[in-house]
């Protein structure tokens, strides 16, 4: 069974309560249509569990099949460096069909992020090492495609519809409670 080899740290993008008893990590690609489908479901699962679940997103761009995946991930990292990772993340998934520089700049502008800095960041690949490190960490943890979820460190091998994800989180929650 595949387990998450890279523990969640402060370098990660975390949504939800830092003290939540259960952690769900997603390895995803902004250009992957399945990740696009999973995006609202993940939000629904988070809403359902509230304070009891924290969500972590890590990059897993398949750049040879998804030509915009890398720049989209770097744009999200750029926004993250300005404290706006999640709004950019949502914006990228919600506009998945129009990924590319014009969208990145429009989203940056809507978040009051400096366009010229984003341009330089993308040109010089400042955030490329972070994206690569997410990707390699994912590969080493057995990620074989996207989206790939780990719930409390164990790979979720079921589907990512609401019922299956929620029941996996629920099982982890029961375990966490039993351990207290």
């Amino acid at each position: 069974m595949s387990v998450l080899r890279q523990p969640v740290t402060s370098a990660d993008h975390i949504r939800g309560s830092p003290n939540a008893p259960v952690t769900m990590v997603e390895y995803g690609d902004y250009e992957c249509p399945f990740c696009g489908l999973a995006h609202p479901i993940v939000k629904q699962v988070q809403k359902h569990f509230g304070e009891e679940l924290r969500f972590v997103f890590r990059h897993f761009p398949l750049t040879q099949v998804h030509p915009h995946a890398q720049t989209a991930a770097e744009t999200a990292e750029f926004a993250g460096a300005h404290g706006q990772f999640w709004r950019m993340h949502d914006g990228l998934f919600q506009n998945q069909r129009s990924l590319g520089a014009p969208l990145y700049f429009a989203l940056a502008a809507s978040l009051d992020l400096p366009e010229d800095e984003l341009r330089v960041a993308l040109e010089t690949g400042v955030y490329a090492p972070k994206v690569k490190s997410d990707f390699i960490g994912g590969v080493r943890s057995g990620v074989n495609g996207t989206p790939c979820f780990f719930i409390d460190g164990r790979r979720h091998n079921g589907s990512y519809d609401f019922e299956e994800l929620a029941s996996a989180v629920d099982a982890a929650l029961q375990q966490a409670r039993a351990a207290i």
Partner: protein, 170 residues
């Protein structure tokens, strides 16, 4: 599931078409680790994901100086179209005639379906099988096993080099 040949045995030599007018032999790659990914078929959904992942990992494999080849029973023209469509940057070898003969020599042929197993081999620079893994046919095995094996192989090789050096000096 077929029985893959064991680690520690000499990897069977092969020469297969890599393009309509070019062949590749295992011997051509001697001296470097070789990763062989046997897979059932071009264009099938699981194979697509698996090979796309390996394609993405080529720089990582190269860091270990390893060469990757994919092998299926599809013909050269099929491989050619598939590699172009998916932007694959590693050779796909056609185990096409006699069909599946190379896969058979590695114990990685599914006689009933007439396709290769989804089997992975890491072969060391001397042509000996270092690690192998046969995945259930519908499951993408990912690359963690390959990278773990390449790391262990690098470690063992550097250990044996330093042991040899010590021996020589002593």
């Amino acid at each position: 599931m077929a029985q893959l040949i064991a680690s520690g045995t000499k990897a069977p030599e092969f020469t297969l078409h890599v393009t309509p007018d070019q062949n590749l032999s295992l011997g051509d790659l001697a001296g470097k680790p070789v990763i062989i990914a046997f897979y059932p078929a071009d264009w099938s959904p699981v194979c697509g994901d698996q090979l796309a992942l390996y394609n993405e990992l080529l720089p990582e494999f190269r860091r270990h100086e390893a060469e990757l080849v994919g092998i299926s029973v599809d013909g050269v023209w099929c491989h050619d179209a598939y590699a172009q469509h998916r932007n694959l940057h590693f050779p796909l070898l056609a185990d096409f005639h006699p069909k599946g003969a190379v896969a058979q020599s590695y114990g990685a042929y599914r006689e009933r379906e007439g396709v290769c197993e989804r089997a992975l081999f890491v072969i060391d620079g001397r042509g000996v099988i270092f690690w192998r893994y046969c995945s259930p046919i519908a499951v993408n095995p990912g690359a963690d096993g390959i990278l773990d094996a390449l790391e262990r192989l690098s470690k063992e090789e550097s250990n044996s080099v330093s042991a040899a050096t010590t021996g020589h000096v002593g």
